[in-house]
Symmetry: C2
Subunit: 353 residues, 2 copies
Amino acid sequence: MADRHPREASVASRARARRKGHGRATLADVAQRAGVSPITVSRALRSPLLVAAATRERIARAVEEMGYLPNLLAGSLASSSPRTAAAVLPTLDASIFTDVLKGVVDVLDRDAYQLVLGNSHWSLAVEETLVATFLSHRVGAIILTGATHSRRTRVLLAASGIPVVETWSLPDEPLGACVGFSNEAAAAAMTRHLVARGYRDVAFVSAPVDDNDRTADRRRGFLSSLRAHGREAGLDRTFESPFSLAAGGAVLERIRERRPATDAVFFANDVLAAGALLAAQRAGLRVPQDVAIAGFDDTELAGALTPPLTTVRIDREGLGRRAGELMLAGIRGEPIAGTKLDIGFEIVVRGST
Amino acid sequence: MADRHPREASVASRARARRKGHGRATLADVAQRAGVSPITVSRALRSPLLVAAATRERIARAVEEMGYLPNLLAGSLASSSPRTAAAVLPTLDASIFTDVLKGVVDVLDRDAYQLVLGNSHWSLAVEETLVATFLSHRVGAIILTGATHSRRTRVLLAASGIPVVETWSLPDEPLGACVGFSNEAAAAAMTRHLVARGYRDVAFVSAPVDDNDRTADRRRGFLSSLRAHGREAGLDRTFESPFSLAAGGAVLERIRERRPATDAVFFANDVLAAGALLAAQRAGLRVPQDVAIAGFDDTELAGALTPPLTTVRIDREGLGRRAGELMLAGIRGEPIAGTKLDIGFEIVVRGST
DNA sequence: TTGTAGGCGTTATCAC
DNA sequence: GTGATAACGCCTACAA
């Protein structure tokens, strides 16, 4: 069989002698063994129906025998269609983001797309670097968290022309597509619930608002809702806190010192709320009698505490799946730019308020 | 300037006309603009010192003006040294794995390596598929969770010759390097603590043991420690449970029905332990008086509960960092195969026992 | 149904 | 210090 293609054989071996590849079998090696041309092997692997069954059979055997694995780098380069997508998360500490990630990965998996992961550590500058690197890697699409990005990030993405999906909010001027919900409306709805429950002096706690449109929107929703109910709505009843259970407890303590009349606290995420609830109980406070506590996200912990946390339910895994599906659609060439997918939210009233 | 290289210019434009690239600037485009050859641009970017300052300057300007981003696919193909690594996690639901992930990503980031993520959903078959895909993508190294892998996974990895790092355990015959600790010793140590504390009838709960060497090792450590203390050590005091807070509560209930004499339960992870603790309190049980509860992992929640959970502390982020560092060392060509890094563990005694 | 020619964008090699 | 040439492994376009 081999002598049917003496030229290819010699070309291949000469090449190997000169520049030594990885030693891995290539398409040409498989082709030679199967007694066909490389392109036929390529076709047999990608569109089997275009290849005669007998040929396909021989090729399959050769692939098997040589343990051939296609080189996707070469494939992507030649076809300029990489089978990778990237996602930038602000942190890997919070499960709410890995929940989204899970949805994304699961969807990409079904199409054999790989997910390249970046951790921006809440920094727009790091995000920018990551985006540049991803573009260098020629990923087929990018998922971003939030709608706040550096100027250069926007320029890079626009110039790249690849599908972009922003998550967690619904900006007026999305970079490409976006999947999220109205953080402002969600926070306003929770605030309305607290007011309706009869709480007179409500405080608000969130992660730092800088560079974080979601947090900013939630705070805005809180304040505007208070105002709409004729309540005093100054920034003095809003607090910022690092992200951890312990920090939630600490900020509750701070609030009770600064504003002793506070009878309810709305935390912009469940981790802080849970931390506050646990700390309150350690301190002998009754929830919600002495202080009511509301959260945001509806993490598993929220429902497992006693009393369980009133919170805002967000379908994070669904968010990730939608984002992944939009990316894939964009990669297929469908026009997704400008698409805004509202996944909504749900106020879950439980014992803590 | 342009007319100094008329041939290259025409070659480039002809190529573009024929086959339309992404429209993105290439090395050749930058070279033409800077009036040098492509290889000089390549050098200026990768080893600036080999290029004259003036040339470098001109090239830098051209790069800037054209918004050039190197194509790493092409670079990796040509140099056969991709700047990517891959990690397979069994799930994205548990923060203990994303903690590790964080460590890995942070280390890779420093060297501008990208991390490709796979979720095996606890399935060795899926892991195998993921590994094959990663190898097709020609990642430079792979991190695996645990030491149980399919036969083909082992074959594929061995044939690939790339650095492999197994995490969370210290197998006798590692695939490559491994970073972990003795799950058996850790579980035995916790069991010893419970016995020393005076608990007479201890139960053990873990995730399913099939295909999970870590869980299997922990159970073995539990049973052998009981035996070492002259206690009865049958499998009837071990239980398996899905992974969630709610499941932790459910399994505690099951134990109290089946083995009412149980006065302590050792959970092989903190999520189950926390779920059990919260459920116990809801049911009016006193912890540890009515039933003692111990966990494993030392997640943040463990320390925030009341009473705080006795648990086994594992430095997960450090584990991830070590794994990342080993990978990079392997990529650099250092011989890491056979390296076993023991990161140890620490029994953290708190109020729940 | 299968093959030929050449390009994808970069880097290794060797020469000047 | 800089460049010409070929190669990395595959795919598109066109041909047979």
